[in-house]
């Protein structure tokens, strides 16, 4: 019943890593949609969208990610959907990531000085044209390093999807441990696999930071 730790286990762990990546990308996509709304709301002129955005961010960031996952996992089944963990996880992560991305992107928008808007108006651009040609390109440049940094957080956060039963890398690790009774080796491998995904991104984010500073 207890089997030896084999190369096959490493293979399955690497396969599970794919699901980590899938979940991360789904969370990024969902989080981006939410994030754009939060950023736009938070940077708005009117006080109502700003307040809504701020409340959303404060609420999401004030509750543990695990709790959000459980709320969506149990909450969605109450509404009548018996959804697979992947869906609950995607919704939960999207809500969570949306708040953080929204804050990052709002910061980038707000960092563009008023004078840039004024320059756009002075050459006769409409609001949308200003956004498209002047503001957003600059905001994107500012936002990329911290967004890449957050991507690393997101990859690590997907490990919590294991708790609601989604089989990504951490869950696969738990199952492998149960089968081989080699927790030390297994979790070391799991950690190494996460590291191989996260560290290059961390380095890249630092390079981007450095480049952005050089441009200034």
């Amino acid at each position: 019943m207890i089997r030896e730790l084999a190369w096959l286990d490493l293979y399955y762990l690497v396969l599970a890593l794919r699901w980590t990546v899938v979940l991360t990308l789904l969370a990024l996509a969902g989080g981006s949609v939410v994030g754009v709304l939060v950023a736009a709301g938070g940077a708005a002129q009117h006080v109502v969208p700003r307040l809504l955005a701020k409340t959303y961010v404060g609420l999401v960031q004030g509750i543990p990610l695990l709790a959000w996952l459980f709320i969506f996992y149990f909450g969605l089944s109450i509404i009548g959907y018996d959804l697979p963990p992947l869906v609950a996880a995607t919704v939960g992560f999207s809500v969570y990531a949306g708040a953080f991305l929204g804050e990052i992107w709002r910061g980038a928008l707000v960092a563009i000085p008023r004078t840039q808007w004024e320059a756009g108006t002075a050459i006769g651009l409409t609001y949308i044209e200003q956004l498209r040609h002047v503001i957003i390109p600059q905001a994107v440049r500012i936002a990329i390093p911290p967004t890449v940094g957050f991507l690393v957080q997101l990859i690590k956060n997907t490990s919590l999807a294991a708790v609601i039963g989604f089989v990504e890398l951490t869950r696969e690790g738990q199952m492998t441990t149960a089968a081989t009774f080699q927790p030390f080796a297994v979790y070391l491998l799991v950690a190494a696999l996460y590291f191989s995904l996260c560290y290059p991104l961390t380095r890249y984010s630092r390079i981007l930071e450095g480049r952005r500073r050089a441009v200034r």
């Binding site: 990610l65 909450g75 708790v163 080699q182 950690a191």
Partner: protein, 220 residues
């Protein structure tokens, strides 16, 4: 559907929730205290230490910051026994959380040290102060003041992250959720209530750190 049950499960299980809350607070307090001190020391090594010391701390920081907390926790609680180190749930929790927080604190405080302008250091040198004296009187306070927002955010994040120890059955607030869940079968309501409690903790902590800032760094 939920209205009656929410009140019922909260009032009936007050004790479990309270006990869990206390554990969460204890874990957070101990970890933040240790993590802050160790993290500041690690940051000092990162900026002022000898090359081999700097590399060692750098490797430690990168490994911790690029792997998930839950995996670190599992490694410590489930993995260490197989090489002879058997820890109880609370010790493993404090250990994993502290190791984790120290790495993040080190990065933040390191940036703080590096944010103190060179001219300040030169002024200290020109007065005849030694390195350690300059660190203590010229660098430390301004550095901490500069990174206070990042640092306090990180501590709040840690308090929320303590919920992860529920996965090794530590009796924290989040774990109280699963206890109540098994008694009342009202999953959604339970975790909603617990989430609200975490939210209160977050607000209290943020307020506390704000107050602390005014006490420490604002002048009359």
């Amino acid at each position: 559907m939920s209205y009656n049950f929410q009140f019922r499960d909260v009032f009936a299980q007050k004790a479990a929730i309270f006990d869990g809350l206390v554990v969460t607070l204890e874990l957070s307090a101990i970890t933040i205290g240790l993590g802050f001190i160790l993290g500041t020391l690690a940051a000092a090594v990162l900026v002022y230490g000898r090359p081999w010391a700097r590399s060692s701390v750098r490797i430690y920081v990168e490994v911790i910051r690029n792997t998930p907390l839950i995996v670190q926790l599992f490694l410590i609680f489930f993995g260490l026994p197989s090489i002879g180190i058997r820890l109880d749930v609370m010790t493993a929790s404090v250990l994993a959380l502290t190791i984790n927080l120290t790495a993040y604190t080190a990065e933040i405080v390191r940036a703080g040290f590096e944010s103190v302008p060179k001219s300040q250091i030169e002024a200290g040198v020109s007065l005849g102060l030694t390195g350690p004296q300059i660190f203590r009187h010229v660098v430390l306070l301004p550095a901490l003041r500069n990174v206070y927002p990042s640092l306090s955010s990180q501590f709040v994040l840690l308090m929320l992250a303590t919920s992860i120890v529920s996965q090794i059955s530590a009796a924290d607030l989040f774990h109280a959720g699963s206890i109540i869940q098994s008694r009342t079968f009202r999953d959604f309501e339970v975790y909603t209530v617990i989430s609200v409690l975490y939210l209160c903790l977050t607000l209290l902590m943020r307020g506390g750190f704000s107050l602390l800032y005014h006490l420490l760094f604002r002048r009359p």
